[in-house]
């Protein structure tokens, strides 16, 4: 069974009422949706284009860093390309360049739709996005040249790069809040909570992290308070918000439980915010701080189960729909990865587990389950859903989507398995003082090769995705036909299938 064929591009545009009726909408609702999409079109396409460039560049840096760990003689004559710098460039490009920019684009598209209005301040949001990316480029070039503030996740220089990031992020946030202030709905959908939350939390965290006064072990506490929470309150918050939109939307089914959404949101805020010190387990900070974070890490079961049950129960019984919608496939796998990475994180925080896994590649694998399996997959899903609605035509090739999906899923699976195994081997070797340290290095080498192989697949997948995105933007059919309802995915997918079967 295949999805219904795309309407040929020369079909004359039916009038709005007929279109609305075909989608089960009132004409004024469709009007609102079209105007919302039109208001955010340019800035969202800009954000996605920039994000995809950073995905390609950032992943290439990641692959280079990976190769260097088992091929240490590679490119050792250039300080710009030493491991410590390319690794940091990779982290900044994929987190702040790719994931943040893609999620900002997604949020800018979602918000007007969810509050039934146009995007307010698209102009200054675009300026903000440009400033944010200038800050990123300055930060990354600085890191490659050896200018670093020295704290992980916060290396971009305080007086060079940070002002651009703060101003840029602020201008984008302003557009978010202006849009919500102009809303025509009474109720705020759960995705809106997460998006607004992210734009309150991230500035607080960034200002704290970049404050110049910290030193000694206090700076370590600040460092990991920031670095852990930037995942939870920025990347995770916006990704969960997106998952809450796309899963019900594609399935044409409401979210399983409103109460669980509420519980998931507020308990995430309460418990995630206290997790950071588990990165310093056993370290020279007061034990009560680490213990607080371990307790909070275990309490993360509550938001994770609330959100997980809510999202998964929305899908249950409809898993076959994953075959038809690339958005659903990516987002549902992202949601599964979120549950998995969170439970893994809770266990890893326990002292008995972290005795082995702390200071090893285990942590790097864990962060990629979250940053890639969850956040990046949600971004892919979001882009597959949003872009056709902005350019006015469907993705040119389902084959390219399949290649993209298979490459990145296979790649991240190999990556995580290989590196997790390497981390455990390394940790066990280091814990036994009878085993020389060199053994803990030797035993990781096969896993590090495995990681590089997984990384190559992921990079290939990104190239396929970027090529497809480029084709999508270049396709001429969509131009000037934005009112035409061209996508079968515009209707909830099961709707389409049932209609087809009937």
């Amino acid at each position: 069974m295949t999805a219904p064929p795309r309407p040929p591009s020369h079909t004359p545009s039916p009038d709005l009422a007929a279109v609305a009726a075909s989608r089960g909408l009132a004409p004024e609702d469709l009007e609102i949706r079209l105007r919302a999409d039109e208001s955010s079109r340019r800035i969202v396409l800009l954000a996605f284009s920039v994000a995809i460039v950073w995905l390609i560049v950032g992943s290439a840096f990641g692959e280079l860093a990976s190769l260097k760990l088992h091929w240490p003689e590679l490119l050792t004559r250039t300080p710009w390309l030493t491991f410590g710098r390319v690794r940091t460039a990779h982290l900044h490009l994929v987190n702040y360049g790719w994931a943040s920019t893609a999620l900002i684009g997604t949020a800018l598209w979602l918000l007007p739709r969810l509050v039934h209005t146009e995007l307010k301040g698209a102009g200054h949001a675009a300026v903000g996005a440009i400033l944010f990316n200038i800050g990123l480029v300055l930060g990354v070039i600085g890191v490659l040249m050896g200018y670093s503030d020295g704290m992980e996740w916060l290396e971009a220089k305080r007086w060079v790069s940070a002002p651009f990031l703060v101003l840029g992020g602020g201008l984008i946030g302003l557009a978010m809040f202006r849009t919500v202030a102009a809303r025509r709905t009474d109720h705020l959908y759960v995705s809106v909570w997460y998006i607004l939350g992210a734009f309150i939390w991230f500035p607080m965290l960034y200002l704290l992290g970049k404050w110049p006064g910290w030193s000694g072990v206090e700076s370590a506490a600040v460092n990991w308070f920031f670095a852990h929470n930037v995942l939870g309150f920025w990347l995770t918050a916006m990704s969960v918000g997106a998952a809450y939109y796309f899963i019900p939307k594609v399935l044409g089914r409401p979210v399983h439980s409103y109460q669980l959404s509420l519980l998931g949101f507020w308990s995430l805020a309460c418990f995630y915010s206290l997790n950071g010190m588990h990165h310093l387990v056993g370290g020279p900070i007061p034990t009560w701080m680490v213990t607080t974070s371990i307790v909070a890490s275990v309490l993360m079961f509550i938001p994770v189960f609330a959100t997980g049950i809510n999202l998964h129960m929305t899908v249950v019984g409809r898993f076959t729909a994953l075959r038809y919608s690339p958005t659903l496939r990516f987002v549902v796998i992202g949601a599964l990865a979120y549950t998995a990475v969170s439970l893994q994180g809770s266990f890893s925080a326990l002292r008995e587990v972290s005795r082995i896994t702390h200071f090893t590649h285990w942590t790097v694998a864990h962060s990629h389950v979250g940053g890639y399996g969850f956040v990046t997959f949600v971004c892919f899903g979001a882009i597959y859903y949003i872009v056709p609605r902005l350019v006015g035509h469907e993705w040119p090739s389902s084959k390219l989507i399949r290649w993209h999906f298979n490459l990145v899923l296979g790649g991240i699976a190999i990556y995580v398995l290989a590196l997790t195994w390497a981390g455990v081997a390394q940790g066990l070797a280091m814990l036994d003082p009878q085993i020389p340290f060199s053994e803990s290095v030797r035993r990781t080498i096969p896993g590090l090769y495995g990681r590089s192989v997984g990384g190559v697949l992921m990079n290939l997948g990104h190239l396929v995705f970027a090529y497809h995105f480029f084709l999508m933007l270049r396709m001429p059919q969509g131009l000037g036909k934005r009112k035409r309802p061209p996508f079968h995915e515009a209707q909830p997918i099961l709707y389409t299938r049932e209609a087809e079967g009937a």
């Binding site: 760990l69 088992h70 240490p72 003689e73 050792t76 004559r77 300080p79 030493t82 491991f83 050896g146 200018y147 670093s148 020295g150 992980e152 809040f177 009474d186 705020l188 607004l196 939350g197 309150i200 939390w201 607080m204 965290l205 704290l208 910290w214 030193s215 000694g216 072990v217 206090e218 700076s219 370590a220 506490a221 460092n223 308070f225 929470n229 805020a269 915010s273 010190m277 310093l280 056993g282 370290g283 020279p284 900070i285 007061p286 034990t287 009560w288 701080m289 607080t292 005795r355 200071f359 090893t360 942590t363 790097v364 390394q426 280091m430 036994d432 003082p433 803990s440 030797r442 080498i445």
Partner: protein, 211 residues
């Protein structure tokens, strides 16, 4: 939820409380931490070396902390004589505690490996020292010059047979000496007072309680 202000206030308040608990309250406690008596300040050259350590991302593979012997085997492995405490890090801005041990812990590397020659050779060619090492080479801390171009007073490093570039001598730069000076300064094996040890556990001075 229907009220944006309530959402914003709640989100802000929760984050502010978490910051208070894990950053601001500890900051007030750490205010009473003084540098360990035996801990010297970094010299200018050591401080330069520390900058180079940061610039080249050493922290992504090397931690600088010894954990409690009751919890791990850091001490048995020979990385230190005791768990490190907040008083050991007072002059570190920012901290370089690290989260990864692709390479060994370095907080006491100056005590373990006090030889300048060893460190210079190891930075120039790690695998000339340990064939299993995966550390990058830091060739930009050295100048490779034709034999006979030695400036009086300079000391080229001695490479094992076959590891030297043909017909060249390898001379450390000022930066090369600076980073080695920093590495050798890393030594927290001096004893610390009970007050400082208790600080590690409760985060305040000994007179707040403790054993």
């Amino acid at each position: 939820m229907t009220r944006v202000w309530l959402l914003a206030l709640g989100a802000f308040a929760i984050m502010a409380s978490a910051m208070s608990l894990l950053v601001f309250i500890p900051q007030a406690m750490f205010a009473s931490v003084e540098a360990a008596e035996a801990l010297p300040r970094y010299t200018q050259r050591q401080a330069r070396g520390r900058e180079l350590y940061i610039a080249n991302g050493c922290v992504y593979c090397h931690s600088q902390q010894v954990r409690d012997p009751a919890f791990t085997t850091d001490v048995d492995r020979g990385w230190g004589t005791r768990a490190t405490v907040p008083a050991d890090y007072v002059y570190d801005k920012p901290h370089l505690l690290g989260t990864m041990r692709t390479g060994p812990d370095l907080i006491n590397v100056g005590q373990r490996l006090p030889s300048v020659e060893w460190h210079l050779l190891h930075l120039y060619d790690p695998r000339a020292v340990n064939e299993w090492s995966t550390m990058p080479r830091f060739t930009w801390f050295f100048e490779e010059r034709d034999e006979g171009q030695l400036i009086p007073g300079e000391k080229p490093i001695t490479l094992p047979p076959g590891r030297a570039p043909k017909g060249k001598i390898v001379v450390p730069t000022e930066d090369g000496y600076a980073i080695v000076d920093y590495l050798i300064s890393l030594n927290r094996t001096y004893p610390v007072s009970d007050t400082n040890r208790v600080m590690k556990t409760i985060g305040g001075r000994g007179d707040h309680g403790g054993k």
